[in-house]
Structures are given as structure tokens and as C-alpha cells.
Point group: C2
Chain length 561, copies 2
């Protein structure tokens, strides 16, 4: 297809800033911010579709993601965020259907993954950062538009006899609501399953008080009282927030980046791309200075403060590779630097949990690592002399599907080097939970509390390969004679397997133990949606998604599977 061609040529760009927004306006007024969606119909990322009725594509959502991030870092004073529409015909019509109908399967899936992550980020801001989101639904919110509202803590619907909330995907398009709607209906808003069933088959949706009665929205407000009530509710939510920031925010200066066909470079992160081998080698560098003495020094460093700068780069890299390099199926994860400095930076953040910036950085790192967990690429960590897998950076190895730690040193290259070590820190035992609500350590040793207890006793101790393997922290510990061959075999083998089967396997065994609403969205709901996206009944020439708007009805294979 041509319409999303940009995504296929490596050129989708996730870095933006409010001055460059085409689709959103961000305004703040003391403790209340307002995010106004006013999509530029002609501002689609690809050709071939117009973003009517505040419908969105990946480009629109990239701006939303940027705004949510900036509110957390640049606006510590903001305690409530109102999402509303600047389009007088609709609140939001959801993902653009012509864009979806024309997109390749992989593009649809990647788009949904990013939009899901952004909505999870909205919930994360509400739950953990004292920035409570309020959906001021001042026109019809359909499909992804209503799902955007569902990600907000409080939903207000204008009661004007025409503005409705709806999930018309099933009756109109033959697909599911793609950004968590079904799960949030029953698991977040506790809409009874039979009402949810009925609601999801009514393309016209539900208006006013009935929507309140069905728990679909929290209140329905007549137009005459709308502006005043929304403002009042926002002030109330803001006043209930425990957000700690009073001081000025950190300016999120542009992330500097170089990009070619074979390398993506940032200050702290580099990725060497080998499209032929289907391999990206990602290196994350630890800080090159000691940790600041206190958080006020960190505030002064602002966006240059290593944990924040590194996380922003890693975040951008993950999004870039996912979207622009689908044929690179394996990511090798490496680190370099001084483990002590990483642990000191970690400690500074954890010692000042009452500092809003420290809190935000840890939460941002957590969200970024969660992106890795749901990334459909094989992740292999390589732990060598000079590497820096300690504390927060050790999470990269714990997020990996496999890890290799060199036993000893490379005798030919640098026989005098210190052998590779991994070092657990406080970041590994609590704050960086996966989407399932458990740490990566706890998930790794699911059902094996003794191992977790033993490892917790060894925080701060550099563990050489034999120890780390014995303790179960790494998968393999080859010596330098076997190292290159083992890595080569593992990566070549990975490249030879079915990419789809790898994705399915990884999506299952990465998430041992309990499930949460978040993992249900990525596991259960997304997996079913991906299945439907592949079915002729949706995506085939006579499928509902392709026939929508043509005046022709879909021609279904009626057999239930």
C-alpha cells in the first residue's frame, strides 16, 4: 500500500514538540491542563486518507504521547488534565478506517500497540503521578475515541440528545475495539458483561443518562452547564491530587539523533543495524560522571541528567526500530560503562522518592522497559568485560529472552580486563515492575521464592558468570573459546525461525504468573484482535473492514471458529 509508505522507509519520526503539533493543543492554567484534539484532516502521516471527524492515525497519536510525557516532566504543577475536542462535529471518531483498511497487517498491529501504550501511560499518570485525566466528551466518541475516554479516570459526556459513546467496530467493521476497550469496559468500569455485549453491537452507541446508568460514563451534563461543570470537576480532581511538584519543570529539549541505514546514534544509546542478518546491536552506555550529590543538582542538569537522557533515547530507539525496521527480528542488548555510577544514579533516585522529578524518571524508565516486554522482537543480552549490567541497566538483561555472560575474559583481545559481572541493585527488587505488576526478577523466578530471597541478599555484589548462571540470573556462561560461535549460532538460528511463531512464543513465556488489566490488553485482547485482522471476514476483499463505506455489505464465511 502507498498510504503508510512512510512507515516502511524508516522515516516515521516519534520526536516532536508542542510547537510542531498539527492535531493537538496543549494549554495549562495553574493545576489544570487542557489537551484539545483538533485533528488536521490533511495532516495524515500517509497519503490516501483524510482524518475527518477527529479520527486519528499514528501521527496524531505520536503528538498525544509527546503531550502526555511533557505534562509529566515540564509541568509538575499540573494535577488534572482535561482531554476534549476542538472539532465541532465529534469528540473523536477513533482510528481512521481508510487508513486501517489500507494498512498492512504488521502496520495495524504496530499502530495498535503504540496507541495502547499511550493510553496505558495516561492511566499511569493518573495512578502514579497525581496527574488525573478527565475526558470531557463534548461530541460523539466512537470506537477509539471512546477508548481514549476509557483511559481517563473520569468521563463526562455532554447531554445534548445526539452526542453518544459507542464501540461500533464489531457491527460496522467486523473487528474488535483495538485499544483496550473491551477489557476496560468489564475490568475497569465494571460494566456487566451482558450490557457490554449489547453495547458493543449498537453502532449508534448510547447517549446521556443511559450511558451513565450503564456505567459507560460517569456523568452526563447539559450543554448549558457544560463548560462550568468541566472546569469545576477538573479543579476538584486537581485538588485531590497528591502530586508533589511545586517548582518549575524540566524542559524536555530535543533528543539529538543521527540515523542511517546501518546505524542509529544518540548520546547514550547506539544501534548498529544489520538488515541482512536481521540483527540490531543496541548498546546503552552508563553515565560518564559520578551521580550528582543531590536531586537539586539533578534538576539543574534537567534533560541531560543521565537516567532521563538515556531513557528518552532508549524509548525513541524502541519505537523507531519497531516501526521502521520490522525485518530486524533480533535485538542484541549490550551495555558499557561503570556499574558503580549506574548504581549511584539509581540510589539517588530511590533515596529521593519524594522528589517529583526522581519519581517521574523511575516511572518513565518503568514504562520504557515495559515497551521492551511487549516488543515483538527476540531480545538477547550479551554481558562482556566492560559491560555495565547493574541495577536499572541490568533490567535489560532480565527483559531479554536469553542472556550470555562471558566466563573469564577475551584472552586474545584484553587478557587483563576485569571479567564481566552483573550487579543487582534496589532498582531490580521493586520499582520497575512489568505490566503484570511483578518485578522482572519475581516473574523470572515465578514460584521460586527462595531464589528471589537469595538474590535479594546479594544486592550490590558483582556476580561473575559462573555465579550468575548458578543463581539463574543469566542463561549461558560460555568462555571466550565458545563465545563467538554460541552467539552466532543463537542469532542465526533465531533468524531462521518463523517470525510469527517467535512472536507468539515470546508473548506467552515472558509473562509468567499473574495477569493484570494491562497484560490482558496486550495478551488476550490484542492476540484476538490480531487474529481477526488476519481473517478474510475482516481484511479480505469482501471483508467488513475493506467494504466499509463502499455501500456493499461484507460477505462473511459464517462458520464459527
Amino acid at each position: 500500500m502507498t498510504s503508510l509508505a512512510a512507515e516502511q522507509t524508516g522515516s516515521v519520526e516519534f520526536r516532536t514538540e508542542p510547537a510542531r503539533y498539527r492535531h493537538w493543543r496543549l494549554a495549562t492554567d495553574g493545576p489544570v491542563a487542557t489537551l484539545t484534539m483538533d485533528v488536521d484532516e490533511r495532516g495524515g502521516l500517509g497519503d490516501g486518507y483524510e482524518l475527518k471527524l477527529n479520527s486519528y492515525d499514528l501521527g496524531v497519536d505520536i503528538e498525544l504521547y509527546d503531550a502526555v510525557q511533557r505534562l509529566r516532566f515540564e509541568h509538575p504543577e499540573v494535577r488534572a488534565v482535561v482531554i476534549t475536542s476542538g472539532n465541532d462535529k465529534a469528540f473523536c471518531a477513533g482510528a481512521n478506517i481508510r487508513m486501517l483498511a489500507g494498512a498492512e497487517h504488521g502496520q495495524k498491529v504496530n499502530f495498535c500497540k503504540f496507541t495502547n501504550e499511550t493510553r496505558n501511560g495516561i492511566e499511569d499518570a493518573t495512578a502514579n503521578s497525581g496527574q488525573t485525566y478527565l475526558a470531557a466528551v463534548n461530541g460523539t466518541a466512537s470506537g477509539g475515541g471512546y477508548e481514549l475516554a476509557l483511559a481517563c479516570e473520569h468521563i463526562m459526556l455532554i447531554d445534548d440528545r445526539s452526542s453518544a459513546v459507542s464501540l461500533p467496530e464489531l457491527p460496522l467493521l467486523g473487528v474488535l475495539p483495538g485499544t483496550g476497550g473491551l477489557t476496560r469496559l468489564v475490568d475497569k468500569r465494571h460494566v456487566r458483561r451482558d450490557i457490554a455485549d449489547y453495547f458493543c453491537t449498537r453502532p449508534e452507541g448510547v447517549t446521556g443518562r443511559k450511558a451513565v446508568g450503564w456505567r459507560l460514563v460517569d456523568e452526563a451534563i447539559p450543554r448549558a452547564q457544560w463548560a462550568e461543570t468541566v472546569a469545576e470537576r477538573a479543579r476538584e480532581l486537581a485538588s485531590r491530587s497528591d502530586r508533589r511538584g511545586r517548582a518549575a519543570g524540566i524542559r524536555l529539549t530535543p533528543v539529538a539523533k543521527t540515523r542511517s541505514e546501518t546505524e542509529i546514534g544518540y548520546r547514550w544509546v547506539t544501534a548498529a543495524l544489520d538488515p541482512e542478518a536481521g540483527l540490531a546491536t543496541i548498546t546503552v552506555r552508563g553515565p560518564d560522571t559520578d551521580a550528582p550529590a543531590d536531586m537539586s543538582a539533578a534538576h539543574e542538569q534537567g534533560a541531560d541528567f543521565w537516567p532521563l537522557a538515556m531513557t528518552r533515547e532508549l524509548d525513541d530507539l524502541i519505537l523507531d526500530l519497531r516501526t521502521n525496521e520490522p525485518a530486524i527480528g533480533t535485538w542484541l542488548l549490550r551495555t558499557s560503562g561503570d556499574p558503580g555510577r549506574v548504581l549511584a544514579h539509581d540510589q539517588l533516585l530511590l533515596d529521593h522518592a519524594d522528589d517529583w522529578l526522581a519519581g517521574e524518571i523511575v516511572l518513565y524508565l518503568r514504562r520504557t522497559l515495559k515497551r521492551l516486554d511487549v516488543t515483538s522482537r527476540s531480545l538477547i543480552a550479551l554481558i562482556e568485560p566492560g559491560s555495565c549490567f547493574a541495577g536499572s541497566l541490568l533490567e535489560l538483561a532480565l527483559a531479554a529472552d536469553r542472556s550470555f555472560q562471558l566466563e573469564g575474559v577475551f584472552e586474545d583481545d584484553d587478557p587483563g580486563a576485569d571479567p564481566a559481572a552483573v550487579t543487582l541493585g534496589a532498582m531490580n527488587t521493586g520499582p520497575l515492575q512489568m505490566g503484570n505488576g511483578l518485578t522482572r526478577l519475581r516473574t523470572r523466578f515465578s514460584g521460586d521464592d527462595a531464589s528471589v530471597a537469595e538474590l535479594t541478599r546479594r544486592l550490590g555484589e558483582p556476580l561473575l558468570a559462573a555465579d550468575a548462571a548458578e543463581l539463574g540470573l543469566v542463561t549461558f556462561a560460555p568462555d571466550d573459546i565458545d563465545w563467538a560461535d554460541e552467539i552466532r549460532i543463537a542469532t542465526e538460528e533465531r533468524a531462521s525461525f518463523s517470525p510469527d511463531a517467535l512472536t507468539g512464543m515470546e508473548a506467552n513465556i515472558r509473562f509468567a504468573g499473574q495477569e493484570t488489566m494491562e497484560t490482558k490488553i496486550f495478551g488476550r485482547l490484542t492476540a484476538w484482535q490480531n487474529w481477526i485482522f488476519n481473517r478474510p471476514n475482516a481484511a479480505g476483499p469482501a471483508g467488513a473492514l475493506r467494504r466499509f463505506g463502499t455501500g456493499q455489505r461484507a460477505d462473511f464465511d459464517r462458520k464459527r471458529v
Copy 2:
């Protein structure tokens, strides 16, 4: 395809008995039973494949299901069950690949669902019935063969340097292990995720002590000690069982059934089929006599005891419709009879929880209702005068996606009838949990404990339509003027929607709240597998599943989705 043609013509038959087994031998010796798998290569359900190396198809698994059921009812004395192989070349090679490669998508999915249910039933026997399963893996167990072992509580592997356990689906076939293997590895056996990853990419599998070290099996025993150690272990497991039965079992006499294109009839259950409308109307009849005075009278009734007889018929009907009538997408659920008698039968069972037969019947009903929850058909309950939605039969309405209860009576037909009522009983508040470990009531009112508490106060009270709707027990309460139209619109509308989107929606909103290993298998794992089954990389002409055994390598689209 021709090979599974039988499945498409309504003729797959789930009723069998040991005398008719072609693939299994069932023997008991006091407290220990042995199930020996010795698949008849030429005994496949379809043409076009041979069941070599103890590979299986649906027909083989139907016998296994029957054996597991009979052990519970016919053999109260059995406390441990050994599953082993009578094939001298393999323990079990898993699902037959040629069968899978040739099967239509829907057949593959239905086959996997049934095999999953059977393995869950094995775990249910171990966990709840004191019949502990032991896998005596006396040859290589690959793919579904190893997954069968994973469903057992204890896995013994013969240590002969060649017998291995393996999950070769990903490297050889480009699909996932289809019967819970990935989930059981990490969630049941607590195999570390990186070891699971490595294991699942080694088609040759793992033998002997290494398999023990990786927690893949519990012990590896040399051939010289094999028979003796297996017997010893079985005796140990049997001696630890708390199974209550000492007396003689109940003989599971053949379920009498009539079947035509338009009707399936049993003693207590009938289904009227309307393939044109895509509709089956299922009626379950309550008991026509009072409950026996005590369980000894129930023992005497044996397989004719209403709760058991009705459950067996419902179970067979669900399996028949699922397999043989894929184009019938909506099941209307009706009941008839005396609610008081149902509640009395329920009470008898619950009052005698220490009676092995009472316990087994409740557990069987629970498993059968769980089948409904994972059935990919829309379920609509119709509650009319003369119906019998009380206690255990009310679960049918609670399992439905929607329910309609008539307000008042049919004025033209029977103005003097008692109006339709639903009656909660003790069966609704505890013993019949869904796969998520919660009752249907608790799942329905997820996050709304007040409603559950209120309903629990009203056990035994016949609730008319207005009350039941107000309390949230039913979805709609039309009167007789609207009744027929509302049902017609609901069913016609349902038939007009994408069958796939309905399946996806139902699989998500039926399972509010927590997940368990069981729901993870049906939700997360199965959904991903179904997606892979649809992908050209597996099922396309150049996909791995189709090319297996041809000598040609699969030709993969390398893009990760």
C-alpha cells in the same frame, strides 16, 4: 480438504466406551490405573494420514477423554493413573502433522480446544478428585506428547540416552505448542523463561538428567529400574490421595441420542437446529421426579440420576454442535420443568459433599459449564413461563452473553400461567466456578461486591422479570407484546455480524477479573496460536506447517508483526 471430511458432515461422534477403543488400553489394579496409548496407525478419524509414532487426531483424544471420565465415575477406588505408551518407538509424537497441515483453520482450532479441555480435565482429576496422574514417559515425548505429560502431576522420563522430551513446534512447524505447553512450562512447572525459550527452539529436545535439572520432568529413571520405580511411584501417589470412594462405581451406560439434520435429542436435552438461520435452540429439562431421599438412592439410580444424566447429555451436545455444526453461530438456551426439583437435587449433592459420587457430579457439571464459557458461539438465554432456571440450571443463563426474561405471561397462549422466574441457589454461589476461579455471579458483578451480597441474601426466592432485571441477573425483561420481536431482532442481528469478531469479543468480555493458568491457556496462548494458524508463514503454501516433511524449507516473510 478430504481428510477430516467426517467432521464437516455432522458425523464426528464423541460417545464411546473402552470396548470400542482403538488407541488406548485402560487397566486397573486396585488403587492404580494404567492408561496405555497404543495408537492404531490406520485408525485416524479422517483419510490421508497415518497415526505413526503414537501421534494423535481428534478420534484418539475422544477415547482419552472417555477414559478420564470413566475413571472418575466407574472407578472410585482408583487414586493414581499412570499414562504410558505401548508403542515401542515413542511415548507420543503429539498431534499428527499431516492431519494438522490438511485441516481447515476452524478444525484445527476446535481440535485444540477439545484437547485442551481434556488435559484440563486430567488436572482437575488430580486437584479435586484424588486421582493423581503420573506420566511414565517410556520413549520420546514430543510436542503434544510432552504437553500430555505436562498435564500430569508427576513426570517420569526413561533415562536411556535417547528418550527425550521436546516442544519442536516452533523450529519445525512454525507454530506454537497447541495444548498449553508454553503456559504450563512457566506457570505450572516454573521453568525459567529463558530456559523455556531455549528448550522450545531445540527440536531434538532434552534427555535424562538435564531434563530434570531444567524442571521439565521430575525424575529420570534408567531402564533397569523403570517398571519397578513407576509402580512404586504410582503406589506412593495413590497412598497420598484423599479420594473418598471405597464402594463400587457407577457404570456410565451409553448416552441414548437421536440425531437428524434438524434435531438432536436426548432424554433431558434437546436441540432444534436451524442451519439456515444459524440458530440452535437448546432445551434442558429439569427432573421429573423428586430428588432421592439420600445419596444411596442416587447411587442406585446410577447414570440415570438426573444431574449426571443431564450433564452427560449436555456435554455431548456441546461437543457435537461445536464440531459438527460450525455454521450455527447462536445457541438459544431454554429450560423447562420444576425449579423446586432442581434445587432439591442440587441440595442433595451439596449436602453430601463427602460422598464421592456427589462430588464427582458437581465437578463434572462444573467442567461442562466451563465448556460453554469457551465455546465460540453466541449464547442467549430465554426465560419464559414454565422454564426452570434455578440453581445449577440458572448457570446456563449466567453463562449466556445475554438473557431475556418475559415480564408477565404470554396473554394469548396461556394467560393463567405462572410468570417466568429465576431462582438462585447454593450452586450459584460457590461450587461451579468458571476457569478464572470465580463463580459466574462473581464474574458478572466483578468489582460490585454489593450486588453479589444482595443476591446471596435472596437464595431460593423466585425472582420475576422486573426484579431479576433490576438485580442485574438478566439483561432484558420485555413483555409479551415485545418478546417475539426482540428475540427475532437479537438473533437476526447476531447472525449478520462477523463470526470472527463475535468470537473475539466473547472471548474477552466473558472473562472479567482475574486470570488463571486455565484462562491464560484459552485466552492468551490459544489466541496467539489461532493467529499463527492464520498466517502464511505457517499455513500458507510455502509455510512451515505445509512444507514439513517435503524436504523443502519454509519461505518466511521475515517481517516481525
